[in-house]
Structure formats: structure tokens, C-alpha cells
């Protein structure tokens, strides 16, 4: 029998005390934590705060509701919110701080596609579970294989293909199109998707103007004059926030809507602000399977109570970033719950959490969605026509179509911009039947 000497006792004590620092936390047994800390990056300042603040508000409300029912598997949730407006370098520093100093368990990053593209490699380096909650670029999972990131919403490909399919289903005789997009990555990329898909589905449609006013432009008078002179059948714009509001107001003041059919894939987020200045008959997108009057979920208690509570607290109707934040949080809750069950009731490791997120199907406020094996979320795309009704002081959506991901999203292993070249009028014909607005 080995005798316990002072030297061995000292070595043993040192080893025990040093273990938490020497051995990675993940390799130690997973104990139920006192709390789950979530780092959230969103825009709290700058023009994109029109999305970032509603996203933050949704997180605040939903986490409060989650904690009121005991948190996730009895563990309360805590959010640490950071502003991604100062830029990518700042964001990366903040993410590192949250993971290494604040010990967050999972990151929800981000709104900007540039932010998501930058955070994904950092998540790999830090082995940090990362849920991309709102960014749209399709490049993330097409160009990279990210073990530690998933996205709980669709991406730019279905967001642009769906309104195009909708347009061609109601106006197959379109001859001319003009674009007015913001001059930055999203404006350029979304136009590339639209143009490529349009040329594949209906060759011969003429692009009469490609206008890219600077990001943050406050005046579109010149663009509107030119569009009035050109009289395109369709004006396409993926602008958002204050710029979309300004464009809509100025176009309405100068009667441009009377000359062209507008396709505005992000306009759901502006409806309440622009009010009935936006005329009837404009094609409006919702960036996913959500809207506060969602055609199949509007009468569910879950959606109704969320909308009522959100309005009561923040004075506005929820818009798409609100729903995207909800999707991320519901996915996280579902993943923890499933991983704990698969783990025999024990708290899952980060690896187990990530494994569960891939392939996860979960319910959210307006439906059910799935995260694909490559980490990309799959959700239908809600597109409709603006309609004025007495129930609301702003337009609602009518003749709504929920385009399934099978029609609008490229499969794993393909590039969206290449895949859209295979679309045709047959794809248009497969569009589901429209659902009318119900008073």
C-alpha cells in the first residue's frame, strides 16, 4: 500500500485545484447550471436599429415569459445584449468578451450578414454555440461548413425567389422591370438573385433601370422622376427601414404607384409606419413564415397573446425581426429540451446541444420549422398583396401565399445563385393557392 506522504498529498491537492483550469470545462461532467446565459448581438444604434430594437424587445419579453414558467428545464435564462452597429471588429471583440469573461453558453448573432460571416469562424475557434437569428446572406452555409453555427430562419434565396414567383403568378405578362436597391451587399446580392432567377423563368423581361442610391439615402426624388419617365411594369426594391419608408412616401406623393407594380420583399416591416400611404396591390414580403395576422396562425392563443403582450409593452405590432428572435429562442429551448431527454435527463454538453440543433424541428409563434443538417433553417415564405381594410390604419396582406421551402430554397451542396437558373414557369405553376385576408 502506497504511503501518503506530504509530497503526494500536496501534488494531489494541486491537481484537484488546478483541474478546472487545465481540463476543458466541456470534458468535465455537465452539471445543471444555475442559469443559461445568452449573448445577443443586434443593432441598438444606427439605421438598422429599426430591426435591432424590435429583436431585442422580443428577446426581453420572451425570456421573461420563459423564466416565468421556470426557464429551460428549470434553469433560468439571462440575456446579455451587445450592439453590432460599431462594426465587425467591435462585434468580434464583444463576442470574445461574452464567451471568455461572461461565460455565455450560447450566442445569438446577428442581424447584418457581414456580422454573421465574421462570427461563424469565431464560433468555431471558441467552440461557442451560435444561432444566427436574422442575417440573410445565403453564402454562410454555402461557402463554409460551420460546426458551431446554425440559422433559425431562411435566407436571401427564398426571400427573393418567393416574391418573384408570386409576381409571375399574378402578372405573367411583365415586360419591363426597374430596381431601386440600397448600395451595399444586401441590395446588390438580392438584385443578383432576382435578375438571375427572372432571366431563367421568363427570359426576355427587360431591365430598364438599375438604380442603387447610397446606403442611408434620404431622398429618392431623382430616382422617382426617372422611373416616372421610364414607366417600367414592375419596380423591385429590397430596401428597408427608414429608406423604404421614404421611398414609399415619395413615390406615393408623386403617383408612381399608379404607373408601376411594386415588389417590396421587406415591406411587412414598414406597413405600420407608412400606413395607408402604401396603396393597395403592392407585392409585400415578410422574410419568412410570420406576420402578426399570419393566415394559418392568427387565431392561435400563442400568437394572439404574444401580439397583445408585445403591443401592450412596446406600443407597436411585432415585425419580422421580432419573429426571427422568437424562432431563435424557441429553437434553443427545443434543442435543450430534446438534448436533455436524449442525455437521460443530464444537462447536455455544448457539442450535444449543437448536434441536437442540426435536424431539429420546432414550433414557433406562427408555425413549425426545421433546421437542415448543414445548419440552414427551412421555413415557408409569406408573400401577399397590400390591401386597405377598416380594421387597421395601415395595409394588411391579402391573397397570401405561403411558398414552401422545397420551391424556393436550394438544396444542401448547391449554390443559390446557380440553383435559381433551374427555375421555370413550372415552378411558378406549383405555387400554393392564395389565402384571402380574413377580417
Amino acid at each position: 500500500m502506497t504511503r501518503l506522504t506530504r509530497r503526494t498529498a500536496f501534488a494531489g491537492a494541486t491537481a484537484v485545484l488546478a483541474a478546472p483550469w487545465i481540463v476543458p470545462r466541456r470534458a468535465l461532467g455537465q452539471q445543471k447550471p444555475a442559469r443559461i446565459r445568452i449573448g445577443i448581438s443586434t443593432f441598438l444604434s444606427g439605421p438598422a436599429s429599426v430591426f435591432g430594437v424590435p429583436g431585442r424587445n422580443a428577446a426581453e419579453l420572451l425570456i421573461e415569459q420563459l423564466n416565468a414558467k421556470g426557464g429551460i428545464a428549470g434553469v433560468p435564462v439571462e440575456a446579455l445584449v451587445i450592439d453590432e452597429a460599431p462594426g465587425v471588429n467591435f462585434l468580434l471583440g464583444e463576442c470574445r468578451r461574452l464567451v471568455q469573461n461572461e461565460n455565455v453558453d450560447v450566442m445569438l448573432a446577428s442581424i447584418s450578414s457581414g456580422s454573421c460571416l465574421a462570427v461563424a469562424p469565431l464560433a468555431e475557434e471558441l467552440k461557442m454555440p451560435n444561432i444566427m437569428w436574422d442575417c440573410g446572406t445565403q453564402r454562410i452555409f454555402e461557402e463554409g461548413n460551420w460546426r458551431w453555427s446554425v440559422r433559425t430562419q431562411a435566407n436571401a434565396v427564398p426571400e427573393i425567389v418567393a416574391p418573384l414567383l408570386y409576381l409571375l403568378s399574378i402578372r405573367p405578362d411583365v415586360q419591363t422591370v426597374a430596381v431601386v436597391n440600397q448600395d451595399y451587399a444586401w441590395g446588390r446580392d438580392s438584385w443578383a438573385i432576382w435578375k438571375t432567377a427572372m432571366e431563367a423563368i421568363k427570359p426576355g423581361i427587360r431591365v430598364v433601370a438599375e438604380l442603387f442610391p447610397k446606403f442611408g439615402a434620404t431622398d429618392f426624388s431623382t430616382e422617382i422622376t426617372r422611373l416616372q419617365a421610364l414607366r417600367p411594369d414592375v419596380v423591385f426594391s429590397t430596401s428597408w427601414g427608414g429608406e423604404l419608408d421614404t421611398f414609399v412616401r415619395q413615390a406615393a406623393e408623386r403617383r408612381l404607384f399608379e404607373r408601376s407594380l411594386f415588389v417590396l420583399p421587406l415591406a411587412e416591416s414598414s406597413l405600420e409606419r407608412v400606413g395607408k400611404t402604401l396603396p393597395e396591390g403592392v407585392i409585400v414580403g415578410a422574410r419568412g413564415d410570420h406576420w402578426f395576422l399570419h393566415p394559418t396562425a392568427r387565431d392561435t392563443d400563442r400568437l394572439k397573446s404574444f401580439v397583445a403582450e408585445y403591443r401592450k409593452r412596446f406600443g407597436l405590432y411585432p415585425i419580422y425581426p421580432t419573429f426571427h428572435m422568437a424562432q431563435a429562442l424557441f429553437a434553443l429551448e427545443a434543442a435543450y429540451t430534446k438534448a436533455i431527454a436524449a442525455n437521460g435527463g443530464a444537462w447536455p454538453s455544448r457539442e450535444q446541444l449543437m448536434n441536437t440543433l442540426r435536424g431539429l424541428e420546432f414550433d414557433h409563434l406562427t408555425g413549425r420549422m426545421k433546421i437542415r443538417e448543414d445548419g440552414q433553417g427551412l421555413e415557408p415564405m409569406l408573400i401577399g398583396l397590400s390591401k386597405h381594410v377598416p380594421d387597421y390604419p395601415f395595409p394588411v396582406l391579402d391573397r397570401m401565399v405561403l411558398f414552401p421551402p422545397e420551391l424556393t430554397m436550394n438544396p444542401i451542396g448547391t449554390k443559390g445563385l446557380e440553383w435559381v437558373k433551374g427555375l421555370s414557369m413550372e415552378t411558378v405553376a406549383k405555387a400554393p393557392a392564395p389565402i384571402p385576408y380574413k377580417a
Binding site: F212, K214, T218, S221, T246, E253, V274
Partner: protein, 296 residues
């Protein structure tokens, strides 16, 4: 083609008017106080937000035009002296870099104040535009606000400023201080008062630019940044401190941007800066700049 040129020129005029209204205040302040005021963009934004709020509160279309002027005056009279006496007066004899940093810090603070007061959701209040109605030119609809009011106010402001500075005693006092502060003080001019007055006018002009822009655009956080960057380009191209130069440069930029949208849309974003680089390469002091001390 003739019609297209006319349309482009009309659009350019409206843009030039908006740009001039902001740049002229900045150049006036620099000309007299020798401080490049980064917070000028915040005064523009606050003027716009306040105008929007007042127009919304009044709810009477014909009063909305007066609300724009009232908002500009309120910002000028309240914030102008506060900033000048409370902050700038302490740094007149400091390095330009420090002055720039101080006004930049003020800009950041005022940006947050805007968010605290008005939030981050875009605000839009276009009652003045709707009140003035539309005009049809060659089958194209313009708003009277854009086509008549904006260029009219800009032209009136330019003429009034030039008249004030050249033809009135107070204006000549300002010019005297600009020319040589020590000599002006030696003959009994209170330069502190001149600085205060000039900055107040500059602040009111910035706020007026914002107030005039408010009915045509959505007000969002960061709107002041956009305008201050463009204003810097205008006054650098014109020559720092040159009021007529600012008018000519604003016109060049407005028309250049407008013609670009028609004939070379890819260049629209860079037109102001291309103009600035081209001018500064040939005339480093700007189009109207010179090495003389006098700036107004």
C-alpha cells in the same frame, strides 16, 4: 433628350437646395469661429426631429410650414448659445484637433439624446408636402415642396445672408471680427458677442436644413452623420468659409448627382467626392478659397 435634361436639372436643383441649407451654416461657423463643428450634423437631425414633432402636434396643414421655421429657430436659440458659451468658448485657443474631438464628442452625445427622446423607429411627417400639392412637368409629377419651396428657401437664405453680412452694421461687425479679431476688439467690437451670434445663426441654419428635409424623408438614427459628411464635401470643395462658394458647390453636387442617376447610375454615390477630389487637385484651397485671412 431635352425633357430628360430638364427633369434632371429640376431634381438637381431640389437636392442642391437641401445640401446648401446645411452646408452654409457649417461654412459660416467655420469662417468666423475657425472651428469645424462636427456636431452640426446633430443640429440638423434635432431640427428635423423637432419639426416633425411640431408638425404632428399641430395637425393643421397650413400651420405646418410655420412649424418648420419655429423648430429651426428653437434649436438655434436654445442649443446654439448653450453649445457656444458652454463648450466652444473654452476651446477657441486650442489646437484644431482638440476642437474637432470636442465637437465630435458633442455629436456622439447628441446622437444618443435623439435616441432617448425620439426612439429608433423611423418618423415621417409629410403634412407640409401634402399641403402644397403637386405640379406636373412634361408628364412627370413633382411635389411643389420639392420643386418650388426648397430652392426658394435656399435662394432666399443665400441672398439674406449675403445682404446681412455685407449691408448691415451687425453683419459688417461679424466680417470685421473674421478679418482680424484683435483689431476688431481694439476698436470696441465685442468679439464674444459676435461668436455667440454667428454660432446661433449657424445652428439655426443647420436646424432649418433639417426642418426642411423632415417632411420629405424618414427620420432615423444616424441621419445627422449622412448630412455632415456631405456638408464637409461641399465646404471643402467650395473653400472653407465661402458662402457663395457653398451655394455653387451645392448646385454642382446636386446637378452632378442628378445627371448621374439619369446617365451613369453607378456614379451617383461617388459624384460629390469625385467633384471634391477633382477640385482640390487643381485648387487645393477649394473653388472659391484663397490664402487671404478673411473668410466671410
Amino acid at each position: 433628350m431635352g425633357l430628360l435634361l430638364l427633369l434632371a436639372a429640376l431634381d438637381g436643383l431640389a437636392t442642391a437646395a437641401q445640401v446648401f441649407m446645411v452646408a452654409v451654416g457649417l461654412t459660416l461657423v467655420f469662417g468666423v469661429l475657425k472651428i469645424l463643428n462636427v456636431a452640426h450634423g446633430s443640429l440638423f437631425a434635432i431640427g428635423a426631429y423637432l419639426a416633425s414633432t411640431l408638425v404632428g402636434l399641430l395637425g393643421v396643414p397650413w400651420l405646418s410650414l410655420l412649424a418648420l421655421v419655429a423648430a429651426a429657430l428653437a434649436v438655434g436659440v436654445v442649443l446654439g448659445p448653450l453649445i457656444e458659451r458652454g463648450l466652444l468658448a473654452r476651446i477657441y485657443d486650442k489646437e484644431h484637433v482638440l476642437q474637432l474631438l470636442v465637437t465630435f464628442a458633442l455629436f456622439m452625445i447628441l446622437e444618443d439624446v435623439q435616441k432617448l427622446v425620439w426612439g429608433v423607429q423611423p418618423l415621417f411627417e409629410d403634412a407640409p408636402v401634402r399641403f402644397l400639392g403637386r405640379i406636373e412637368v412634361g408628364g412627370i409629377f413633382y411635389t411643389s415642396y420639392q420643386l418650388l419651396l426648397l430652392p426658394g428657401v435656399a435662394l432666399a437664405s443665400l441672398l439674406a445672408l449675403v445682404w446681412f453680412l455685407r449691408r448691415t452694421l451687425l453683419g459688417r461687425t461679424i466680417v470685421a471680427v473674421t478679418h482680424d479679431r484683435e483689431v476688431a476688439e481694439a476698436i470696441g467690437i465685442d468679439s464674444r458677442r459676435v461668436y455667440l451670434l454667428t454660432f446661433t445663426i449657424g445652428a439655426a441654419l443647420a436646424a432649418m436644413g433639417g426642418a426642411l428635409a423632415a417632411p420629405t424623408t424618414s427620420l432615423v438614427p444616424g441621419i445627422g452623420v449622412q448630412m455632415i459628411v456631405l456638408s464637409f464635401a461641399v465646404i471643402a470643395t467650395a473653400g472653407l468659409g465661402r458662402i457663395e462658394g457653398a451655394a455653387v458647390t451645392a448646385l454642382l453636387i446636386g446637378l452632378g448627382r442628378s445627371f448621374a442617376v439619369y446617365f451613369a447610375p453607378e456614379l451617383e454615390v461617388v459624384i460629390p467626392y469625385l467633384l471634391m477630389v477633382a477640385v482640390l487637385l487643381v485648387r487645393p484651397a477649394g473653388l472659391f478659397g484663397s490664402t487671404e485671412v478673411r473668410r466671410v
